[in-house]
Amino acid sequence: MTLFLNQLINGLHVGSIYALIALGYTMVYGIVRLINFAHGDILMVGAYTAVVLTTMLGLPFPVVVVLVILVCVLFGVLIERIAYKPLRSSPRISSLITAIGVSMLLQNLALLIFTPTPKPYPFSLNIPPLSIGGLQIGFTTVLTIVVSAALMILLQVLVAKSRAGKSMRAVSEDYDAAQLMGINVNTTITFTFAIGCALAGIGSVLYGLAYPTVSPTLGSLPGLKAFIAAVLGGIGIIPGAMLGGLIMGLAESLTKAYISSRLSDAVVYGILIVVLLFKPSGLLGRRTREKV
C-alpha cells in the first residue's frame, strides 16, 4: 500500500510539472489558435538562465527564481512580437511552421553558446524527505505539487475574476467582436504569452530541482508531453490542461512501476488515442467550448 501511494505521489510530481507547462500551450492556443512549439524551449531558457546567473554572478536562489521568471516572460513576449504577430492574419500553417522554427532556433543557439555537454542545475534543496505515517515524500515533490496547485488556482481566479482575465476570455471567444468592444487585443495576447511563460519559468525551476541536468534539448521532451497533456484534457481549456497533465504523470509513473518502463510512453500515447477516438475535443472539451 505504501509503495502504491509512493508511486501515486511520484506520478503527481511529474504530472504537476506537465500540467504547469501544458497551461502555457493551452492558453496560447485558446487565444490565437496557435500551437506554440517553442514553449518547451522556454523551459530550457529558464534552466540556462539559472545556470548563468548562479555560476557567473553567484546570486542567491530566491533572486535567481525571480530573474528566471522575468527572462522567460521576456523571451515569450519577444517571440510573440517578432515571430508570431506579423503572421497573425496568415494561414495557420505558417504560424505553426514558424513556431517549430523558433523552437529549433532556441535549441541551436543554446547548443552554440553552452555546448551539448550537460551542465548541473545550480541548486538542489538538500532537505530530508518528509515522513507522513509510513510514507516518505521528497521535499522537492511536495514543493512541486503544492506550488503547481497554488498556481493553477491563482490562474483560475485570475481568468475568472480579473479584468485582464475577462478580456482574455472575450478574445478567445470572438477575436473580432472583442476588438469591436474596445478590448486591446494585442495587449491581451501579449499578456497571455507572458502568463504562459511565467508559468514555464516556474516550471523550469521545479523541473531543474527534480532533474538537475541542463542541456540544450532539455525542453523538447517535457514540451511534447505537456502538449499531449493539453490535447488530452482538451486544448484551449485551462482545467483540461491540469487534468491532462496529472493523468499523464500518473499513467507514466504507474506503468514504469508496475508494468514496464519500456511501455510507459506507449501507455500514455495509447490513452491519448483512446480519448481522442471517443472525445475528439479532449476530456473536458465541449461542443460549445468556453475557451481560456
Binding site: 509503495l3 510530481h13 550537460p118 541548486f123 521528497g138 538537475p212 541536468t213 504507474l254 514504469k256
Partner: protein, 379 residues
C-alpha cells in the same frame, strides 16, 4: 644520350643507397608501428595513447632497449577514419617492415585494421578498442583495455568482498553498454552468491527514475548497480536522495564524468565505480608512471588510455624480447599469449579470447566530487 645515362646512373645510386640505408637501419633498431587518431575530434584518445607508448619506449631505450637494440615507434595518424587506418597499416607493414603494431585507438578503425592484420598474422595490440568481436578468431590481435562486461564482473566481486548480500539493479534497455554490464553483473552475482533482489529498467533518454527507484527502495537492497553514464547517474543519485533512498551505488567507467553533471556533490560519496586506471594507484610502477608522465609532458595522465597505451608497449616489447633475435611474427604472438607482466594498470595476462585478465581500479568520490582511489580489484 649521354645526359640520360648520367641521370639513370644517379638514380640507380640513390636507389641503391636508400635500400642500403634501410637495411642498415633495420639492423640497429626494432621498429614498431603505432596507429592512432592523432588529429580531429577524437585526437584526445590517440594522443593519450601516443604519450603513454612513447614514454615507455623512451624508458626502455634508456635501459638498453630490447636485447641491446634501440626501439623506434613509427606513428601514423588515422584521423579517426577506417580507410586511413588501413593505409597506415599497409605502409607500416610493407614499407617499414615493422615487427608489431600498437593501435589503432578507436573501435571502428581497429575493426577494419584487425581484418588486414589477421591476414598478415602480425602481432597487434590495441590499447583502447572495447568491442568484443575485435579479437574474436584473430590469434594475433590483443588488447590491453578491459571489456565493458568485465568491469561488471569486477564490481560484483567487489560487492562480494564488501560483504554485500542483497543488491538491486537499474539499467537502460536502450544502450548496449548498459545492457551488457547489467547482464554480466547479474551473472557474476549469481556465481559469487549475491542475491539480486530487484531489477528495474528505464528507456533510453528518460529523465524520471523515481518510479523505479521507489520500487528498488521497497526491496531494501544494500547497494544498487547503475551501469550508466554520468548525466543519468547524476539524475538518479539526486532523485534517490529526494525520495529518501539511503543506499550505496555501484557503477562502471561511464560514471567517471558524473561529477560534471551533478550539483549536490555530497551525494557522490555513496558512489563506487570501476575504472581503467587511477593516477592515485598505489603500486610502485603506477606511481613511477604518473611521476615520469608528469615530468615528460607536464600534465597528469588523466585519460586512462595513456596507461593502457603504456601497457600495450610493455606487453609488446616484453614479447619481442622473448621472441628471439629474428622477431618472427608467430614467436612474438606466442610470447604475447603467454604474457605475465606487471603493467601500470595492474598485472596482465591474456585469456583464450586475447582479452586481458587484469585489475580494475575501484574508485569513489569525496564530498567535493574529487576522485578517490579505493583499491585494486584483482581478477
Amino acid at each position: 644520350m649521354k645526359k640520360r645515362a648520367w641521370v639513370s646512373l644517379v638514380l640507380a645510386l640513390i636507389l641503391g643507397l636508400s635500400t642500403l640505408s634501410t637495411i642498415v637501419m633495420a639492423e640497429d633498431t626494432v621498429k614498431i608501428g603505432g596507429i592512432g587518431v592523432l588529429s580531429g575530434p577524437y585526437a584526445v584518445y590517440g594522443l593519450a595513447v601516443q604519450k603513454g607508448v612513447n614514454l615507455y619506449i623512451e624508458e626502455l631505450n634508456a635501459a638498453g632497449g630490447i636485447n641491446g637494440k634501440k626501439v623506434e615507434v613509427l606513428w601514423e595518424d588515422t584521423r579517426g577514419e577506417a580507410n586511413d587506418g588501413v593505409l597506415a597499416f599497409n605502409k607500416l607493414v610493407q614499407n617499414d617492415k615493422v615487427v608489431g603494431i600498437i593501435g589503432p585507438v578507436l573501435t571502428g578503425v581497429t575493426r577494419a585494421v584487425a581484418e588486414y592484420a589477421a591476414d598478415e598474422n602480425i602481432p597487434m595490440i590495441t590499447p583502447s578498442a572495447t568491442a568484443y568481436d575485435i579479437t574474436t578468431d584473430r590469434a594475433n590481435v590483443f588488447r590491453t583495455c578491459f571489456l565493458d562486461p568485465f568491469q561488471a564482473v569486477q564490481m560484483a566481486r567487489y560487492a562480494k568482498d564488501e560483504g554485500l548480500t542483497k543488491v538491486g539493479v537499474i539499467y537502460d534497455n536502450g544502450t548496449e553498454y548498459s545492457k551488457g554490464l547489467y547482464e554480466a553483473f547479474v551473472q557474476e552475482c549469481a556465481a559469487v552468491g549475491i542475491e539480486v533482489v530487484a531489477t528495474e529498467s528505464a528507456a533510453y533518454g528518460d529523465v524520471d527514475f523515481k518510479s523505479q527507484l521507489t520500487n528498488l527502495k521497497n526491496t531494501a537492497p544494500e547497494a544498487v548497480f547503475l551501469p550508466y553514464y554520468g548525466a543519468e547517474a547524476a539524475l538518479m543519485l539526486t532523485q534517490a536522495n529526494d525520495i529518501g533512498f539511503e543506499t550505496r551505488f555501484l557503477g562502471a567507467d561511464g560514471i567517471a564524468d558524473v561529477v560534471d553533471s551533478i550539483g549536490n556533490k555530497q551525494l557522490l560519496t555513496k558512489m563506487t565505480y570501476s575504472d581503467h586506471f587511477s593516477t592515485q594507484a598505489d603500486s610502485q610502477m603506477a606511481k613511477d608512471f604518473v611521476a615520469a608522465f608528469q615530468a615528460k609532458y607536464d600534465e597528469e595522465p588523466s585519460v586512462s588510455f595513456s596507461a593502457t597505451g603504456y601497457d600495450a608497449a610493455v606487453v609488446l616489447c616484453d614479447a619481442l624480447a622473448k621472441a628471439g633475435p629474428e622477431m618472427k611474427f608467430e614467436d612474438t604472438i606466442a610470447a604475447i599469449k603467454a604474457t605475465d607482466v606487471e603493467g601500470v594498470s595492474g598485472k596482465i595476462t591474456f585469456d583464450d579470447h586475447n582479452d586481458p585478465i587484469k585489475s580494475a581500479f575501484i574508485m569513489t568520490f569525496d564530498e567535493n566530487g574529487n576522485k578517490l582511489f579505493v583499491k585494486m580489484q584483482n581478477p
